[in-house]
């Protein structure tokens, strides 16, 4: 259960935490029953993510993965943001305990859900396969 310094830093001082009133895309994944919900807000300007905010209900690693994921996509174009993998999130946090890796998957999915929302709002064609829930966070099955 020992978290890296990076995780604790992002938990204690989460970056980009907050809501966004007039977001261009909003994604929410997870459910309260499982214990983790992440909501990501995007401001998109000319295919570039100019601002991002998140709200998370969940454990310290859920908050930390949300925080670092938002940091990693800010200023990137949507294509780059879409390529964010949960592995990259874990690496950026200097690792996560095995039981917490699902949080990084959730963070990846939250970003994708927000981008998907942006595409849909703007009628931009996209490969919906990319946005399917990986089902990796199988904590729901355990309940």
């Amino acid at each position: 259960m020992a978290y890296s310094k990076k995780v604790m830093d992002h938990f204690a001082n989460p970056r980009n935490v907050g809501k966004m009133d007039n977001a261009d895309g909003v994604g929410e994944v997870g459910n309260a029953k499982c214990g983790d919900i992440m909501k990501v807000y995007l401001k998109v300007d000319d295919d570039i993510i100019t601002d991002v905010k998140f709200n998370t209900f969940g454990c310290a690693s859920a908050i930390a993965t949300s925080s670092i994921a938002t940091e990693m996509i800010k200023g990137k174009n949507l294509q780059e943001a879409l390529s964010l993998s949960n592995k990259a999130v874990v690496d950026a946090l200097d690792g996560l305990p095995p039981s917490k890796v699902h949080c990084s998957v959730l963070a990846e999915e939250a970003v994708k859900a927000a981008i998907s929302d942006y595409y849909i709002r703007n009628n931009i064609a996209h490969d919906s396969e990319l946005f399917k829930c990986t089902g990796c966070c199988n904590s729901c099955d355990n309940l």
Binding site: D36, T56, C59, S139
Partner: protein, 397 residues
Amino acid sequence: MQRIYVDNAATTAISPEVLEAMMPFMQEVYGNPSSIHSFGQEASAALEKARLEIAEILGAKSKEIYFTSGGSESDNWAINAALSIGAKRGKKHIVSSKIEHHAVLHVLKRLEKEGYEVTYLDVNGNGIVKLEDLKSAIREDTALVTIMYANNEIGSIQPITEIGALCREKGVLFHTDAVQAVGNLPVNVVEDNIDFLSLSAHKFHGPKGVGVLYCRTGLALRGLIIGGAQERGRRAGTENVAAIVGMSAALKQAKDNMQANNIALKKMQAKLIDELLKIPRSRLNGDPIKRLPGNISFCFEGIEGEALLLSLDMVGIAASSGSACTSGSLDPSHVLLAIGLPHEIAHGSLRLSLSNFNTMEEMEYIIENLKIIVKRLRDMSPVWEKLEKEANTNGLQ
């Protein structure tokens, strides 16, 4: 930074007096109690003195006390031993509750796989077993009733005297996991008709890794760990003399100070409960009256327990979200689900468990910081956002 330890249901600090009592047995008096020379006989005398003292405090006889490595071993042993008595008459049914500690529940789960049938009694919203339920659950082939004395997460105290009387009347063996009760409540095995009782020293300012199984005389106690003739041939292994002496000193201290401690604990407990209930959408888990004097169990809607704990830890407050053994697991506590809480609320649980080493000033500090932390986490919680919206909508209607 100030450091406040309010996780005494997980484990306690060894009291200075207990440590002092242990020290000679970690230094000069190191003999093996089974040895017939003077080094051994000194150790043996201390062992038997501790046994007698513990027995007296529990209302038991010396020879009914078996030293173990802690609460989990005692639980495992008691259940296995009781069933081996029942097996002689083909009894294959066990009655327990839904809120037992894992040291009981996991044993029962394994036994189910091995052909035993287990009835897990429901508890009411305050976490208390209903006697009528127990009465109707006991069958002809019931080998054992195992119900904990007091719950480790929500602090609720079971009607053990009534349960014991009912079991005795029905002729069913009764085991109670009293790990959280002993040291906090007056426990008497005779008055409560207890056949098997488990306790663990580190829950009452004794050392870790030592406990007791009480087994009433007349019951055949099948060994779980066998070998040498220690513990009258029932529990093998060179005795942990220092720890046993420490356990006895700790129990004696707990008993001597129980009344004074309880008054102080209840005052701190009341203060915390009063103040934390002022936080919106918070709830006290467990029975408001029939609860351990040091236990405060809360749920705060819209936030998750681990984040709460780590936030508290960052300001020096050591607490727990439930039992220590399950901290860090994904599933919410089986105890909170058993008292009827939905998953999303059960996730936001916090247990503060006090000891007589805590002070009222610490309570103030906890309250102040907890309020700030709950607000901070809720502010970033999409679940809280939804709850607020729903409330506003309802308010508007």
